[in-house]
């Protein structure tokens, strides 16, 4: 057997005669593909795993969720009841994140706040997705007149400055967890609906959809089985990016006095309550909520970016 030399360096005479015999053809060899074939989701997951920043974000989010669930339970302190004599204690072994103006344990309150902030974020995203998929799905799938009317409505809603409406609603309804979520989703679903519609419009003309239509498959089934799974990529990305923007909006509303009312705490309430404290040197009261708001937004943003790259088949190399 000849070594793996550059073939052109091999003199013809060197090649043994017995190699000039017919070779068995085998089908498997012919069809050997140039890359292992993976399903869309497997492939996306493989790419996401290689994106360290996005994976860091994912890990952070999991930790945050776990801490939001178990943090307040594990802590010996009550989130809403403080000891006034222990006002403004710096972080110590006793109070890991220190105490605030009412002598409440900031560590406990941070995780209590995480519950509310994450709840607001996830609920807003979930409601946006539900309305967005229904609205966008129908609009995109039906097309024609229906689509025209539904899109005009979206266009009008899109023009309304969303936080102004939220503020207005909260002023009237009075701030509470429920009203904040309602206010955030009243116009929030519009972006999602646009994305879903665009995706559905694109995919509904693909042959496999036309084929199942020609077999007389029911519309609802086509939407559920044929369209939705293939529009999931952008929807998931948009969802991932909705969560941080809802968390931010909640923090912003707390800041202008429309947040969750005390003694309950969200990160936004905690941060806006302690903006003054930082100037008097009690930095920890602001630092921890601010840090976790930023960290959460960061984690969701990088995860969203990573998902976008991973789920976009155009980027498949």
């Amino acid at each position: 057997m000849l070594p793996e030399k550059n073939p052109r360096d091999v003199a013809i005479e060197e090649i043994p005669d017995e190699w000039f015999t017919w070779r068995e053809q085998n089908k498997e060899e012919q069809e050997r593909l140039s890359r292992p074939s993976l399903s869309y989701w497997n492939d996306a997951w493989r790419r996401l795993r290689k994106n360290y920043l996005a994976m860091t974000g994912l890990v952070f989010i999991i930790i945050l969720v776990l801490m939001a669930i178990f943090g307040p339970i594990l802590s010996p302190y009550d989130a809403n009841i403080g000891v006034l004599s222990k006002q403004y204690q710096p972080p110590s072994a006793e109070h890991w994140f220190g105490t605030d103006s009412a002598g409440r344990d900031v560590f406990t309150r941070t995780w209590q706040g995480a519950r509310i902030s994450l709840f607001v974020g996830f609920m807003a995203a979930l409601i946006d997705v539900t309305i967005g998929i229904i609205w966008g799905g129908i609009s995109g799938y039906k097309g024609g007149r229906t689509d025209n009317v539904m899109m005009r409505i979206i266009e009008v809603l899109y023009g309304i400055p969303y936080l102004l409406v939220v503020i207005l609603l909260l002023v009237v309804l009075g701030p509470s967890l429920l009203t904040i979520i309602i206010a955030l989703t009243v116009t929030g679903w519009v972006g999602m609906a646009r994305i879903v519609r665009g995706q559905v419009m694109q995919i509904k003309n693909y042959e496999y959809i036309l084929a199942s239509k020609s077999f007389g498959t029911k519309t609802s089934r086509i939407i559920r089985k044929g369209l939705l799974p293939n529009t999931m990529g952008p929807i998931i990305v948009q969802m991932t990016l909705t969560v941080p923007s809802a968390i931010f909006a909640e923090a912003f509303l707390s800041f202008i006095g429309l947040g969750i009312s005390s003694p309950n705490a969200s990160w936004g309430v905690m941060a806006s309550d302690s903006l003054g404290a930082i100037l008097s040197g009690n930095w920890w009261t602001l630092f921890f909520p601010a840090f976790f708001i930023s960290l959460t937004m960061f984690a969701f943003n990088v995860l969203g970016d990573g998902l976008q790259d991973a789920l976009d088949p155009k980027l498949r190399k």
Binding site: G159, I160, L168, A290
Partner: protein
């Protein structure tokens, strides 16, 4: 082009009408009319309000009269500040807010586009990673937290800039910085991604095949196409800057519209809330409209399609 403008104009008016109606409906449904709450105990104010809002008339008439007052840009008196009309507050606060907003957008667009372009040109290089990390951080840190950090570090600890108020250019640096970071990060990311996409286009390859210099290719062929999507988000960005200014003005004690607005929310000064909401909405919707028109002018495809009427 005319058809395009007309269509956008129609949608703009519809949106405005919805907001005006929405404010009206919300205000009349507020539990216990906002205009005779205990907060407005002042007799004169009470009378002013009743006159302005025609509370003695039936609802449809109230609505029509309210529409009329909005069209004539008369937003009525404030509850809290007696002898002050909402228009007075707008007249005093808005120019300052507009100044803050203008510089913020200017800084955000210029630096965002520059950073995004550089990152795209050095795709997967050190500049790219660095710029994009900074951009994600910029998006992740809420502006009121950034503002507090800036005050604490640059104003209190190092005394480089004044802590608050709005008097000289030096006073503007911190608020503009705090407010511009988020939009800048968004623009940088968008510019980068569209730029990367544009750079793979055939016409860029064609420009290279013509032997043009890299500089010419970027400025003449790539940047203009890459900036189109940036123009489309300018409107949304403006909304963000405006809502951001509410808190920034509060933190830096800038006597702008945003500060009055937040105060009016805290005092439940309904006429000011309504008036400001309507005014700001109108302002933003007009801005969005102008952005749309600008986009139509920039993209030859839109202009001509509409002119030929197909």
């Amino acid at each position: 082009m005319l058809k395009y403008i007309l269509k956008k104009l129609l949608i703009m008016l519809l949106t405005l009408w919805i907001i005006v109606t929405l404010t009206f409906v919300l205000m009349v449904t507020v539990p216990g009319s906002p205009f005779n709450s205990e907060s407005s105990s002042n007799e004169i104010v009470q009378q002013n309000l009743e006159r302005h809002y025609n509370l003695d008339k039936p609802l449809p008439v109230q609505y029509l009269l309210y529409l009329k007052s909005v069209v004539t840009l008369d937003f009525g008196p404030s509850i809290k500040q007696s002898n002050q009309s909402v228009n007075d507050l707008l007249g005093r606060g808005f120019p300052i807010s507009a100044e803050l907003g203008f510089f913020t957008v200017l800084v955000a667009v210029i630096s965002g586009v520059t950073i995004g372009t550089l990152a795209a040109l050095r795709h997967n290089g050190i500049i790219d990673y660095f710029a994009m990390t900074v951009a994600v951080l910029g998006i992740s840190i809420p502006n009121f937290i950034l503002a507090t950090l800036l005050i604490q570090q640059l104003a209190v600890n190092w005394s480089i800039f004044p802590v608050a108020t709005w008097q000289s250019p030096k006073h503007m640096v911190l608020p503009v910085l705090a407010l511009a970071t988020g939009p800048m990060a968004i623009i940088a990311r968008l510019t980068r991604s569209t730029m990367l996409e544009v750079l793979t286009q055939d016409y860029i390859k064609m420009a290279r095949a013509k032997g043009l210099s890299p500089w010419k290719i970027i400025v003449k062929h790539a940047l203009r196409n890459a900036l189109m999507p940036v123009v489309t988000i300018l409107g949304t960005l403006l909304v963000g800057v405006m809502t951001g200014s509410f808190v920034i003005e509060q933190i830096f004690a800038i006597p702008g519209m945003g500060k009055y607005f937040v105060e009016s929310i805290n005092h439940r000064d309904y006429p000011v809330i309504m008036g400001t909401t309507v005014f700001y909405s109108a302002f933003l919707i007009i801005m969005l409209f102008l952005v749309d028109i600008a986009y139509g002018l920039l993209d030859p495809r839109i202009k001509v399609n509409k002119k030929e009427g197909d």
